[in-house]
Symmetry: C2
Subunit: 229 residues, 2 copies
């Protein structure tokens, strides 16, 4: 049995770099491989593309199967095709990056029998295949894109304080921002709306909550607005 083709074909996979943010760090979701090659080693979640399946579908399917995540922000990153990136044979992988908010997808760890865990971005173990390279490309992309597309909100809960928003940017861009200038700028964009709610359970003055208004953003984009931090 099997499938026969006139010419040899590389295998095709999808891999995902899943970023999450908690109070301390930007984190990445990894799974521990149970099969050779690299059994026992940490790797990006991912798997083989089925014929008839769009690769983004593969990516979402594998994410769900391996980590329990669904309905996340997912975007294609780059396709890696070096013939020796997998020791078995030529495997081409289409890499994606995903953004999830850790407080709502808490420690999705151990699912499936496989071991899954979040690692701080600057405390990543050795990874299988060329996954370190893929992760690096993904992080660079995130750093770049977050400045001119409002994707950072995907890392936060639906309702957030301006301090959380600022902290998110500081974590990812890896530099400090001025509080007053930041607030002035983000509020002037008029794409996040002030809610009549404040945070709870904090041991100091509670901050006002805000929400990203995608409709308003889309409308402004149509009229030439450019998000830029």
């Amino acid at each position: 049995m099997g499938f026969t083709y006139k010419y040899a074909r590389p295998a095709l996979t999808a891999d995902c770099v899943v970023f999450g943010l908690d109070e301390e760090d930007l984190k990445v979701l990894l799974i521990q491989r149970d099969l050779e090659p690299f059994a026992g080693m940490w790797a990006l979640p991912g798997g083989f593309v089925a014929v008839g399946e769009a690769i983004e579908t593969t990516a979402r399917r594998e994410l769900l199967e391996e980590t329990g995540l669904k309905n996340v922000f997912l975007e294609q990153l780059h396709t890696f095709s070096e013939p020796d990136r997998d020791p078995r044979e030529h495997v081409v992988t289409v890499a994606f990056y995903a953004l999830v908010n850790l407080s709502e997808h808490k420690v999705q760890a151990a699912t499936d029998a496989r071991n899954a865990a979040w690692f701080a971005i600057d405390d990543i173990p050795k990874l299988a295949f060329d996954h370190e390279k893929i992760l690096k490309v993904a992080y660079e992309r995130l750093k770049g894109k977050i400045r001119y597309r409002p994707i950072g909100f995907e890392l936060l809960p639906d309702k957030f304080t301006l301090s959380h928003l600022q902290l998110m940017y500081e974590k990812i861009l890896d530099r400090e921002l001025d509080k007053r200038n930041f607030r002035k700028k983000i509020l002037n964009m008029e794409i996040i709306e002030e809610l009549n709610e404040i945070e709870t359970d904090v041991a100091h003055r509670a901050a006002r909550l805000y929400r990203f208004n995608k409709k308003k953003y889309d409308a402004k984009v149509k009229e030439g607005f450019d998000f830029e931090l």
Copy 2:
């Protein structure tokens, strides 16, 4: 004979959107298909990935075979994987975009027995497969990227006048720029160098020639410089 695998695999191809610039327009290089499906129709140059070959290598190989182009600027664009994008079977394609300067790669037309020709960006014929979609994505990428990476120089000859440079940006961004402000900005970047040469064969005052200094650009990037038009 043939190659047999345990699980079915999609076929893998590379396709290239080649942009070129002449005095009038931004152009795209297309080839006329000689085989089914879509025989006789215009399409992006491209072809099947060989096992053991990085996909960028496939893209360059196909470009050379089908259009005679080599040593061009080439960058990965996106991977298209909708199962029905090829009527024969599931074919996943990794799309690239290339930038060449038309004055040095003039009418690379008819090579190979295949028919190749340049088409103005807003006068593209119906294309095979989903190539119109790929072209659209490539054009959007070019428009976006040209504003924050110095890739536009790839579309010009080595030595160019400031007017040519400006015209290139105007053609691609599809809007007019102010001559004085443009010159001020681009010269202040100190990444193009003034040559002791002027253009020839023009029926008016000859303009000074300039050249992009990649070394200077790279050095400035290392110190935090950001190209932005």
